[in-house]
């Protein structure tokens, strides 16, 4: 059994209530930080822990915090990114739904470290029921004095606000999130300036993922060094993985970074192997935007080493033979899965979610979807594969925000590793969907 730090109390009934949470050691990090540590010391522990952002990019959290500008007399903000909308990712929901106080505790401790007097949780529109759970928990925390004026009798005060989004994926991009939080259209901002200098209402702001903020709790409780002992190299600590697809046991797992991918997919403790005795075909390891890898490359790197659940190991081989840990949305596909159809679904998503500010993403995502639709209709030509490749290359790196890349990478990776599937459809002029899904529901085919 690997060590668990975030959802270790999963089995405890009513852990979502303040009393039970507190009885199991909850809010200890707030006591420790506010009573015995300076904000700088908290930041120092986070630095030592090696914690990296769990929202997708994996940026070192301590470093991000230390970039926060601290001009005299200007408020600073901590904003929690709970917009979780990347297809395949549902770990933040799990954490907030079952352990709302873990997030609130993390928010208090992190806000103290950053010197924020007001902090925000921006939550995805479709998570309205999670919003209610959190709202209730926040009320409890206020009533018990964990939030509000002079927390624990210290001179630190914090108000925690929640804002519910309207269901746009783009509002997960941190600057679009800030725009939306300010009540504007959720368009990503042109950077620089970065939020650490000019974020919410033009003030210095840190935006962190739900899981990142929750991880601050064990880091402060046990010390950064203790946290850093878990994991491999620069991938320290534990990570929530939301596993979905053709596996026996889909769900959210907390694992120590460094677990072999093979063990994660096939062991009884985690995914429990491929469903219906089928063979593994491919995995999208970190949410829909990271490159898909075929079975042989997800289990072993190109050098033949076992692939591990770490930022480095999954990234080994760059995009030619590797992928990314991303947000931890682990999508497993069996031998009957059509990569082309999966790509069509992803691409349709990005087309739908593009904010429309910059030309390559606004126009390119729709164009790619239309071409992929031709494959699904069985009317595509072989030359369409090259055209798709060219379009994705012309989107990548030319956009305002990374949604452009998020749309381009899956297309590039599907063609890189599964080109033959595209060619076969183009040659046969027919798309045979043999997936389990389509057998269940014939008229779902686009």
């Amino acid at each position: 059994m690997g060590k668990k730090l975030l959802i270790h109390n999963d089995h405890v009934p009513n852990i979502h209530t303040l009393d039970v949470y507190r009885a199991h050691g909850g809010y200890a990090s707030v006591e420790k930080a506010l009573k015995t540590m300076t904000p700088e010391q908290v930041t120092e522990e986070v630095k030592k822990s090696g914690l990296r952002g769990r929202g997708g990019a994996g940026f070192p959290t301590g470093l991000k915090w230390s970039f926060l500008a601290k001009p005299e007399g200007v408020p600073r903000y901590l904003v929690c990114n709970a917009d979780e909308s990347e297809p395949g990712t549902f770990k933040d929901r799990y954490l907030m739904e079952r352990h709302p106080h873990a997030l609130i505790e993390g928010m208090i401790t992190a806000s103290y470290a950053l010197g924020a007097r007001n902090s925000y949780i921006y939550i995805r529109g479709e998570y309205f029921y999670v919003h209610r759970i959190l709202e209730k928990a926040i009320k409890e925390a206020y009533a018990a004095g964990w939030l509000g004026e002079n927390i624990l009798g210290t001179n630190y005060s914090l108000d925690l606000h929640m804002q519910i989004g309207a269901g746009a994926y783009i509002c997960g991009e941190e600057t679009a999130l800030l725009e939306s939080l300010e009540g504007k259209r959720g368009n990503p901002r042109i950077k620089p300036p970065f939020p650490a200098i000019a974020g919410l209402w033009g003030c210095p702001t840190v935006v962190n993922n739900v899981e990142t903020i929750a991880a601050v709790v064990p880091i402060v409780n046990n010390g950064g060094e203790e946290y850093a002992k878990i994991g491999v190299g620069k991938s320290t600590g534990t990570k929530l993985i939301s596993a979905s697809g053709h596996i026996n046991k889909p769900g959210v797992y907390e694992l120590e970074l460094g677990l072999p991918v093979e063990e994660f997919i096939f062991s009884e403790e985690y995914c429990g192997g491929i469903r219906n005795g089928k063979k593994l075909k491919a995995v999208v390891a970190g949410g829909s935007s990271v490159p898909i890898l075929p079975a042989e490359l997800i289990l072993k790197t190109a050098k033949g080493e076992p692939r591990l659940m770490t930022y480095e190991s999954l990234g080994d081989g760059g995009f030619i033979t590797g992928t990314m840990l991303g947000s931890g949305g682990f999508i497993v596909m069996d031998e009957d899965t059509s990569i082309v159809k999966n790509l069509y679904t992803f691409t349709r998503f990005y087309h739908h979610e593009s904010c429309g500010q910059c030309s390559p993403c606004r126009e390119g995502t729709g164009w790619m979807e239309k071409i992929l639709q031709k494959f699904i209709n069985g009317t595509a030509n072989e030359s369409d594969v090259d055209l798709l490749w060219d379009i994705q290359s012309k989107i990548e790196g030319k956009t305002i925000c990374p949604l452009g890349e998020a749309a381009a990478w899956p297309v590039a990776a599907a063609i890189r590793h599964f080109k033959q599937e595209f060619i076969d459809i183009a040659k046969k002029k027919k798309f045979d969907d043999v997936s389990h899904y389509s057998r269940l529901n014939k008229n779902v085919v686009a």
Binding site: A168, I170, R185, I190, H351, H352, E353, S354, C355, G356, Q357, C358, S359, P360, R362, E363, G364, T365, G366, W367, K370, L387, S393, K394, I395, G397, K398, T399, I400
Partner: protein, 327 residues
């Protein structure tokens, strides 16, 4: 600060963008810009046509930038080195951007009032392909009247957001904005609400394409058959400095004066633009300086300013005559 663009060095003040620095050097290095507009705050960064390659970040930190950057929104650093027309990869990337701008454009130039002074035509001509690779139905919208003077033909829009910035920054009572998302986004007045503002007409001048046109001029004449003249009048709302577009003795259109980069020198009021269409309303200053590359200069070579003609004559005498620059 010293910056080198396509091998040409220039000294610029701190805070200058790469695009501004390139424009200071001149057209031979200046990237095309479809959404940036000097007079509009927060404009630029959207269309991505002005991208350049930064091969050296600065003297202090020489690492190249990993991706092409929007030159209109990137400030120069001391010792920065930039490639624009000298980088084949960059030109290929820009060609991609131009293609994206064109795939959903109706290409109805033959019936578009903007033809001849359209920045998308110039951009396509200079950076695009001859053939389209897009085989699907193009996006279409219904036309909208923005008050009695302005027509919005959204189908032609390239989403540069300049008009939105004008509405935001020049006019009060903003009703003009963006609705919907992605490639379904559209410039809107929130259901045909009239922009009753003295300066609303400026959206026509900032629009790089034929999406916003002057209803008092629509379908009257191809621009290259009209003759631009600088003129002014006393106006208590704006500077009164305009450009009149004549056909014979008739003023067909009044616009702002545009500079070398196609940007308005002064925004003008609706009174001057729409309500003063008699020659006698104006004090004529003389012919407008129109680039001799422009189709508008057709049959109007006499408007080349004297110095330019002198240079060209001199070059001709030396045998340097460039074919397309012949007076």
């Amino acid at each position: 600060m010293k910056v080198t663009i396509d091998g040409i060095e220039i000294d610029v003040p701190k805070g200058t963008t790469i695009l501004q620095a390139a424009r200071m050097i001149g057209p031979k290095v200046a990237p095309p810009a479809m959404c940036y507009y000097t007079k509009l705050k927060t404009s630029g960064g959207y269309c991505r046509t002005c991208i350049v390659k930064v091969t050296k970040g600065s003297t202090a930190n020489p690492t190249p930038m990993p991706k092409p950057v929007a030159s209109c929104r990137t400030e120069v650093m001391d010792g920065m080195e930039v490639q624009n027309f000298t980088s084949p990869d960059l030109l290929e990337a820009r060609k991609g951007v131009v293609e994206f701008l064109l795939i959903n454009h109706p290409l109805d130039c033959p019936v578009c009032d903007q033809a001849g002074e359209c920045h998308l035509q110039d951009l396509g001509y200079n950076n695009g392909s001859v053939k389209t690779r897009y085989e699907f139905k193009r996006r279409e919208f219904d036309m909208i009247d923005i008050g009695k003077y302005i027509k919005l033909h959204m189908t032609r829009c390239i989403m540069c957001f300049r008009c939105v910035k004008v509405a935001d920054q020049i006019t009060n009572n903003r009703v003009h904005g963006v609705m919907h998302r992605g490639d379904a986004a559209e410039i809107s007045t929130y259901i045909e609400n009239v922009i009753e503002n003295d300066f609303s007409g400026n959206v026509i001048d900032v629009c790089p394409v034929g999406a916003l046109t002057d209803k008092t001029f629509r379908f009257k004449q191809r621009v290259w058959f009209t003759k631009p003249v600088e003129a002014h009048r006393k106006c208590d709302k704006c500077s009164g400095k305009v450009r009149l577009w004549f056909k014979g003795e008739d003023v067909l259109r009044v616009t702002a004066r545009k500079d070398q980069w196609g940007e308005a020198e002064d925004f003008i009021c609706n009174d001057c633009r729409f309500e003063h269409k008699r020659k006698s309303d104006w004090v004529i200053e003389g012919p407008s300086p129109i680039s001799h590359h422009s189709v508008i200069s057709q049959n109007q070579y006499e408007h080349l300013n004297e110095k330019e003609v002198e240079i060209l004559k001199h070059q001709k005498a030396l045998g340097f005559m460039n074919y397309d620059k012949r007076p």
